[in-house]
Symmetry: C2
Subunit: 195 residues, 2 copies
């Protein structure tokens, strides 16, 4: 009953995004052709242009969706009273979120330079907003005396770089389960921000 033609919008649309994300993460935006995406989806190259005006818009859409997810998840975190608990929540959240979607995280880092300047500005602003979320926790902890962090901006960038680095080595089924990774990064983070 397999059809080689006809309408499959409900399947094709999401599948284009899934396969493009996978291929961009594996080989890089510039190295992946529209023909290659089409082959993975199971359509001809021309059919992709029913779903995206061009390749650049497809990349931007994937990155924008990822950053939107991140912002939404961050805003949904519980606002515990104490900065120490808020920081612990953030550390656990950041690691889990990033390990759950390694492909999106990878292209959000690697393919920024393949965005047009306008699209880059949008994503970069979202990244700064996310960083500000952590910085506010650090500043709150400074105010209560819970943390000892002379330069909250630098510490914010240091912590995010340290935590995001987990995506470069973590593999499901590896030496440490997710929970252990979260706990150990939290130990390191806690020691780092307390005198």
């Amino acid at each position: 009953m397999a059809r080689t033609q006809g309408s499959h919008a409900e399947i094709t649309g999401p599948k284009i995004r899934t396969e493009a994300l996978r291929l961009f993460a594996e080989s890089g935006y510039a190295a992946v052709s529209m023909r290659e995406i089409a082959r993975a989806v199971g359509v001809q190259a021309g059919a992709l242009y029913n779903y995206t005006p061009d390749k650049q818009a497809l990349l931007f859409s994937l990155l924008k969706g990822h950053m939107d997810d991140l912002a939404e998840a961050l805003s949904a975190l519980p606002r515990a009273a104490a900065p120490m608990e808020r920081l612990q929540t953030f550390v656990h959240f950041h690691i889990a979120f990033h390990l759950e979607r390694p492909q999106a995280v990878f292209i959000a880092y690697m393919e920024l330079r393949n965005l047009t300047p306008e699209n880059f500005a949008v994503i970069e602003a979202q990244r700064r907003d996310y960083e500000t979320g952590l910085e506010e926790i650090l500043r709150a902890g400074m105010a209560t005396g819970a943390f000892s962090v002379p330069d909250s901006k630098l510490a914010t960038l240091a912590i995010i770089a340290m935590l995001t680095g987990v995506t470069t080595w973590y593999r499901p089924g590896g030496r440490l389960p997710l929970k252990a990774v979260q706990d150990r990064y939290w130990d390191l983070t806690r020691q780092m921000v307390t005198a």
Copy 2:
């Protein structure tokens, strides 16, 4: 007296490497054409093949040279007696080395997937060797009781990710001079590894 032909090997060879490094860092290996490199160097595309068998070998040569420089600089560090001093030296060194050559650092991270499997294995082994250099410092500090780091492998990766992250935001002439950046990252690192 400008010549448009003739031999310029002593100029062209290094210039190809400089321009290729710059262009790969700016736009990515896959997005840069041999014609583009040739234009930046001031020769025709065909002339590049007097210096490299192909584009892949050019990329590998740049990455290999960078990793060789890193290994050589690491081995030249003073072997201070105390792990605390050795770690401080490492932190200052790692930051200075990486900030001195942002383009090479960038492509050493971003273009690994554009290496052939054989070339990738070579670079990856060098990266592991470098990480081992830090891990040995941490283990030495554990042995003397100077450090409190339950998982030296994870702490190694966390520290390197944190320190290398400086390349994503540091700009010469910015808010903090190099020395201040080194000192603040050392403060964070020291707090992180001591209980």
